[in-house]
């Protein structure tokens, strides 16, 4: 700074004064900055301490309802990602820390009376216990407190529950967002799929029109063999179908495969009229927080009896 001032100095006294003034001002500014910055830091930190508590709490609240929300079956495979992902690690770490306490207790040392039995169990036993629980119980357990929530979010527990409630298939898959999110998404799709058959039973065209995605590429292949493409044509076909009596389908062997925003469901649909039963494939897409049907394919099931004549190509 002073070098610059000296250089300027050569021209005139006026400029010297100006330069001096500027230098002084610069120094002042620098001093200000130096003195303020740490102060600022401390001040900010203090603010964070007093306010930040609320912030973290707010975000953990989001997590709290995540279990619940994803359980509710609204089917946000992608939404439930972030909260469920960190849990498995978190649980293991927490539980390991607690393990020594357990050992001491087993030796008859009476302590930790405020912590409950469930919170002190070693993780392998907790996981074992959770495998005896159904879906509502796991969700309710997760609502008792935060450590139970971590335990109840255990990936293996949800995998076991998935296989119990849905299918033993898909044993080797690794869901991106963990088994809990996959369970929730599957449940959501299964519910929508069941809703499809409720709509058929009740012959509700408005409900059917809300179920389908309004797009030109949706396709519907009825059990009769007729096929329709595009939202309008598909809706017309349902309108025609609903002119007849409502049909009550019993669906069995429902198998669902879910990706973030796409799912397909295969099933057998039984009905006590002369046609059928049917092999059915339904495809759904996830848009704006909701699953929409984009494809329905129903075909008459081949029934054994002439099994020896079975030929793949007719």
């Amino acid at each position: 700074m002073e070098n610059i001032a000296l250089l300027l100095n050569g021209s005139s006294y006026v400029s010297l004064y100006i330069a001096a003034a500027i230098t002084a001002f610069c120094c002042l500014c620098a001093l200000w900055a130096v003195r303020l910055s740490p102060l600022n830091g401390i001040w900010r930190r203090k603010l964070k301490e007093s306010n930040g508590g609320c912030f973290t709490e707010g975000s953990s609240k989001k997590k709290a309802c995540c279990c619940s929300c994803s359980c509710c079956g609204s089917g946000e495979a992608s939404n439930s990602t972030s909260p469920s992902a960190p849990y498995p690690n978190g649980t293991a770490g927490d539980m390991l820390e607690r393990a020594p306490v357990v050992a001491e207790r087993a030796e008859g040392v009476e302590r930790q009376s405020e912590a409950s039995m469930m919170e002190q169990l070693v993780p392998e036993i907790t996981t074992h216990a959770l495998s005896y629980l159904d879906y509502p119980s796991l969700c309710r357990l997760s609502m008792t407190n935060s450590s139970m929530r971590r335990a109840a979010n255990d990936d293996n527990a949800w995998k076991a529950l998935y296989h119990k409630d849905f299918t033993m298939e898909q044993d080797s898959i690794t869901p991106h967002n963990g088994w809990k999110a996959y369970y929730a998404a599957t449940r959501a799709v299964v519910n929508v799929n069941a809703e499809f058959y409720n709509i058929i039973r009740e012959r509700s065209l408005p409900a059917m029109s809300r179920l389908w995605l309004n797009a030109d590429y949706v396709k519907c292949i009825h059990g009769s063999g007729e096929s329709f493409t595009g939202y309008d044509a598909v809706m017309e076909s349902w309108q025609l179908a609903f002119n007849w009596a409502g049909v009550v389908f019993q669906i069995r062997d429902v198998r669902t495969r879910v990706f973030t925003d796409m799912a397909w469901v295969t099933m057998k649909a039984y009905v006590d009229i002369e046609t059928g039963p049917f092999n059915v494939t339904n495809v759904y897409e996830f848009h704006n927080g909701q699953w929409y049907m984009v494809h329905h394919h129903s075909s008459v099931m081949f029934i054994g009896g002439e099994a020896e004549n079975q030929n793949l190509f007719g």
Binding site: K61, A64, A106, S116, M118, A129, R140
Partner: protein, 184 residues
């Protein structure tokens, strides 16, 4: 198998006697016995003298087998069917009586407070007694199943660390569930 005696020492230095056949119900003890590392007394630093007799009682009852009443009921009958295609009803009846008797025994055996349940779970886990672990864990699960979060907290003395806002939100969610599950 001979009824060789095995001695187990609890964490608080008390010694208990158990038949070798009974001890084999525990995978951990079985490995020690089969491993030939048996040196008079087997120390069990994770099991106290309050709980060890209870464990031994279970082992005595279950001797060689490794399952709870349910497993025996299923496995036993199936085995009979496989080995003897024309298995007689008498045998079947006796099997049923045995299972019923075992169930009754389990019921009485499992009548204890939560502290014992907790210690027994840990002991069964440590000693790898699968049947006992299943039995105790199932009991713990039954204290959760079908209960509201408040009831679960009460059962297990769990203290909520949620904020009032979180609690409120959960009550709302729970109501939603009740609606959904009403149809199940």
């Amino acid at each position: 198998m001979s009824s060789t005696k095995i001695f187990l020492k609890s964490s608080d230095d008390k010694t208990f006697e158990i038949d070798e056949t009974a001890a084999r119900a525990s995978e951990t003890l079985k490995n020690i016995i089969d491993g030939g590392c048996l040196d008079g007394v087997i120390p069990l630093p994770n099991v106290s003298s309050n709980i060890l007799p209870k464990v031994i009682e279970y082992c005595k009852k279950h001797g060689g087998d490794n399952g709870s009443s349910k497993k025996i009921a299923n496995g036993g009958v199936d085995k009979d069917k496989e080995i003897l295609p024309d298995y007689d009803e008498e045998e079947d009846k006796r099997e049923k009586v045995r299972v019923d008797e075992l169930k009754k025994w389990e019921e009485e055996y499992m009548d204890f407070d939560q502290q014992v349940l907790y210690d027994l779970m840990l002991a069964a886990n440590y000693l790898h007694i699968k049947g006992l672990l299943d039995l105790t864990v199932e009991k713990a699960a039954s204290m959760i199943r079908g209960r509201t979060p408040d009831q679960i907290r009460e059962n297990f003395n769990i203290n909520s660390d949620f904020t009032p806002e979180e609690e409120e939100e959960m009550i709302l969610i729970e109501d939603e569930w009740d609606d959904e599950w009403a149809f199940d």
